[in-house]
């Protein structure tokens, strides 16, 4: 048992180091969501005066999207890093050790979870500096970090599945626009009750990303909203489980060792 814990620990550490030592991977994770937040907050501030808008602080409303974008960067970075390992033969090096399949993926995803906590902390801190108010208080910080880590793991696992299936970093990166569309077709910019275009409202209603965003958002705006939180966690857990199933299938095909 302790051997597997060690394997997971060293692989998680390596996964974190690989990302932290690549500034071109770190920059988008940290700054892209914040730049987008700044642009949206300055351009869409007026919507807070719409009847039914839940807060007067657009930053508090929009900061939730940064956590989802961070998760999507986990997809790209984790997937690209794994695809590079496959292309370079590093994956085969790992496969030639007594490492178990489950430890291989667990190691990667524990590293992703740790980075998810780190990036969530950065978004929270920058949001607070910019004027976002966390209504849930100190307890909310822990929940945001947990949901941020889970979101990063879910998306990161999807990236792993894509990398294992294709073995190509380019193919993984090609997924980013696809997933980004999900953010725009959600309640990212307006609460669902204020989306008046029929088709947009319908899509946002069935788009799981809406519920994930609202899970984060509820902690900022409403404090402790049990319904929003369980829906947010349900989406993150569901995403993670589906992604892990996809990883298991792809790993069986990719790793044919006897």
């Amino acid at each position: 048992m302790s051997e597997h814990v060690t394997q997971i620990r060293v692989l998680a550490r390596r996964s974190m180091l690989k990302t932290l030592r690549q500034p071109f991977q770190l920059f988008p994770i940290v700054f892209f969501p914040l730049i987008l937040l700044a642009v949206n907050a300055s351009g869409l501030k007026a919507v807070t005066s719409l009847p039914g808008f839940p807060t007067h602080s657009y930053i508090s409303f929009a900061i939730a999207v940064a956590f989802i974008q961070g998760g999507m960067f986990s997809l790209i970075n984790t997937g690209t890093n794994l695809a590079e390992d496959i292309e370079s033969g590093f994956f085969n090096r790992l496969a030639l050790t007594p490492l178990r399949r489950v430890s291989l993926i667990a190691g990667l995803l524990v590293g992703v979870a740790a980075l998810g906590v780190l990036q969530s902390a950065v978004y929270m801190l920058m949001g607070l500096v910019a004027g976002a108010h966390l209504d849930a208080g100190v307890g909310g910080i822990g929940v945001i970090l947990a949901l941020g880590a889970l979101t990063a793991v879910g998306f990161g696992a999807l990236g792993c599945a894509a990398a294992l299936r294709t073995g190509s970093g380019e193919a993984v990166q090609g997924l980013f626009p696809l997933f980004f569309v999900f953010i725009f077709l959600s309640s990212s910019n307006l609460p669902r009750n204020l989306l008046k275009t029929g088709w947009f409202h319908s899509i946002a209603n069935v788009n799981p990303i809406s519920y994930l965003i609202e899970g984060f958002r509820s902690l900022y705006i409403y404090g402790w909203d049990g319904t929003a939180l369980w829906r947010g966690f349900a989406v993150a857990i569901g995403l993670t489980l589906i992604a892990l199933l996809a990883v298991a299938g792809a790993l069986r095909t990719r790793l044919q060792r006897t």
């Binding site: 620990r9 033969g89 090096r93 030639l96 792809a250 790793l255």
Partner: protein, 332 residues
């Protein structure tokens, strides 16, 4: 076969689209032997290594490595072997020492043991000074040496080296050869694939030549070369009018051999020791020569004799093997 030998019987590996990369090979590698697996690109060398290192299951046939069945005892095989596969499979963002720590931990070494073994191996492969630098800044030779060191972390009894010197400069290549010889002297069995004739010739105790998935010749380098004939000597007279006299003189030493248009050649039944006598005879008969060439058979001649093609360039356009190694793209 002993505890660190290799036995392969009728090994076949097919890929998607009906491509047969390995076509029923049989081979035996004795414990402590350096076995050179020589062939052009796409011949089936790397696929064979992937099967023997348990990374690909065979389509048919059987293989035992270190006395263990590669299909039924994969984890045990992996504990017994070390492998440095094609290309240096390293993480450019980790240092040499971090690679050692990672590899040691995955093989279950304790932290103290990992530090000791890592330092010992970094010293052995001459990378102690660069141990704390990121691998992305290493030269090709340094990467290959680190790759070799990593394959030795757990003290394997058998080592697979897949084209370990491809792309290296002569100095790095010679250093790696020395290390391989040292390992063999320590009792490690080495299975080495190469497309370099010289490498197989100088390094391997025995050589298996593979082409299009089949072993076409096998033996010691000397025996393989001897199997296709004795050396020959070619004489090019200064005066083309002397060709017939030179030919008559060479007839006394051995049967006629193929030669260039302005020369004549003869096989030397007694080997190269005949050359001195030929030179003395030419001198005694007053035959001035423009050139005298000694042709000793090479492993390329062996490949040519067995396949009708030269090994140099035989793999051109046959890089499909690399693609076939992608199990997702090419599973049977």
């Amino acid at each position: 076969m002993g505890d660190n030998g290799i036995e392969v019987d009728g090994l076949i590996r097919d890929f998607k689209g009906g491509v047969r990369a390995v076509d029923g090979i049989d081979l035996r590698v004795a414990p402590g032997e350096i076995y050179g697996f020589l062939g052009p690109n796409g011949a089936g060398k790397s696929t064979t290594v992937l099967v023997l290192t348990t990374l690909l299951p065979p389509t048919a046939g059987s293989a035992r490595v270190a006395g263990l069945d590669v299909v039924r005892q994969g984890p045990e095989v992996r504990r017994a072997i070390g492998a440095s596969l094609q290309e240096s499979a390293l993480d450019p963002f980790l240092t040499g020492r971090e690679h050692m720590r990672l590899q040691s931990a995955l093989h279950g070494l304790s932290r103290a043991e990992s530090e000791r073994r890592g330092s010992e191996l970094l010293e052995r492969v001459g990378l102690m000074d660069a141990a704390d630098r990121k691998v992305g800044g290493y030269s090709g030779g340094m990467k290959r040496r680190l790759d070799l060191g990593l394959a030795l972390v757990h003290g394997p009894r058998l080592l697979f080296l897949d084209e370990p010197t491809t792309g290296l400069d002569p100095q790095s290549r010679a250093a790696l050869w020395d290390e391989v010889r040292r390992l063999a002297n320590d009792g490690v069995t080495v299975f080495l694939t190469t497309q370099y004739l010289e490498e197989a010739d100088v390094l391997a105790d025995r050589v298996g030549i593979i082409d299009r998935g089949s072993i076409v010749a096998e033996g010691t380098p000397a025996a393989l070369k001897a199997s296709i004939g004795r050396p020959s000597v070619e004489v090019i007279p200064q005066d083309p009018g002397d060709l017939e006299r030179v030919a008559a003189m060479l007839d006394r030493f051995g049967e006629k051999a193929p030669a260039s248009s302005n020369g004549v050649a003869a096989r030397l039944p007694e080997g190269v020791s005949d050359v001195a006598e030929i030179v003395r005879t030419l001198d005694a008969e007053g035959l001035a020569i423009a050139d005298l060439r000694l042709h000793t058979p090479t492993l390329d001649d062996v490949f040519l004799a067995k396949t009708g093609r030269s090994l140099e360039g035989a793999g051109d356009g046959a890089d499909a093997e690399d693609e076939q190694q992608d199990p997702v793209a090419a599973s049977a």
